[in-house]
Chain length 208, copies 2
């Protein structure tokens, strides 16, 4: 066990700062700091400044609220994307995951979280009103709800659905079913049940 | 899988910098960076500057070569420590581990690594010559070799032993044996063998 007897206040400060990060314990923090001490001064300055610059200069896209360097992100400002389809996601990681599939050419709306009473996050903490305004403004024809398939995700989906159903917009959600590559015997019952209930015309799957 | 399609260059830079750290993959790096984005600007500045300041201002103690904020570290400059006992360790983590036992009141000599031909580390890359000079200068009566009980540690111990044996200094090393709390049937053969060979007078262990 390594205790708190640091031979240097500078070292201790840096370890304390690293240990504030989620999933980084004090032992890992010390290992990372000692690694940085072996790097060139210029490398460490680059590291430190990249974090400070990020925090000070980052913006959120005024349309989709995703993290961006500019006022309108490069997805929202891309003329080849279809502004009539809007995919609602929790955060930037989901945007990146969906972009990675190359199967969606619409725009996004990043909520910044999901409704979670346990964590004190209600609808007003999220970008839900701005979504309603965006739909009311007219361009959007379809809203794809793409939140996690958890209790909180389903709650948020349903909350948004209730707000949108009076408006003239199609509301869809991600297909749920057996993962590609899954063996049926290991698929969970609920997922398998939904896969059978929402079964697809076989021919429609041939071209995918 | 999250790929490299970052919506922001600032975000990408910060993730790249984090991902250079040992044991931090790109996915963890993104998670840490998104965590920092949620913190106050002043918090992130504190984090960044603590690393830059550490790297720019850290010193090595001119006597023991341990990491220090000042020219002579607070162990070497402590008048209650015994300068005639010098414990040779690989790095600062070992100093902290031994300090934590509160069983050693001498000074240290931090080699900065161990001899490891596989990693291209030879005797001249370590603080071995400064150790010899330190012993030659006269105050040191006992050198305690406290390196890891690995092949590289044993090699380094033996290299230092050969350099020191002509000098008028006692050379000792850490006792090897069964760990406190170990069940004998699970102790490895070599350790158990050494424990029997180097068995201790029972009465001498009663006061420990």
């Amino acid at each position: 066990m390594i205790t708190e007897k640091f031979p240097s206040r500078l070292l201790e400060n840096a370890v304390n700062e690293f240990a504030k990060l989620p999933g980084i314990g004090r032992k890992t923090a010390l290992r990372l700091v000692l690694h940085l001490l072996k790097q060139e001064k210029s490398e460490v300055e680059l590291f430190g400044h990249s974090l400070i610059q990020l925090r000070n200069e980052i913006k959120h896209c005024q349309i989709c609220h995703n993290i961006s360097d500019v006022d309108t992100c490069n997805i929202c400002s891309n003329p080849n994307r279809h502004p009539e389809e809007v995919c609602v996601v929790e955060n930037i990681k989901d945007v990146m995951a969906i972009e990675n599939t190359q199967q969606f050419s619409g725009l996004y709306h990043v909520l910044g979280g999901i409704i979670s009473p346990m964590d004190g996050i209600g609808p007003s903490d999220l970008e839900i009103n701005s979504l309603i305004e965006r739909v009311k403004s007219g361009t959007v024809k379809e809203v794809v709800l793409a939140l996690s398939t958890t209790m909180e995700g389903d709650t948020t989906n349903f909350f948004i659905y209730k707000k949108l159903k009076e408006l003239d917009v199609k509301i869809s959600t991600l297909a749920r079913g057996v993962s590609i590559g899954d063996e049926l015997e290991y698929a969970d019952e609920i997922t398998l049940g939904r896969s059978i209930k929402n079964r697809l015309d076989f021919e429609s799957t041939l071209s995918q």
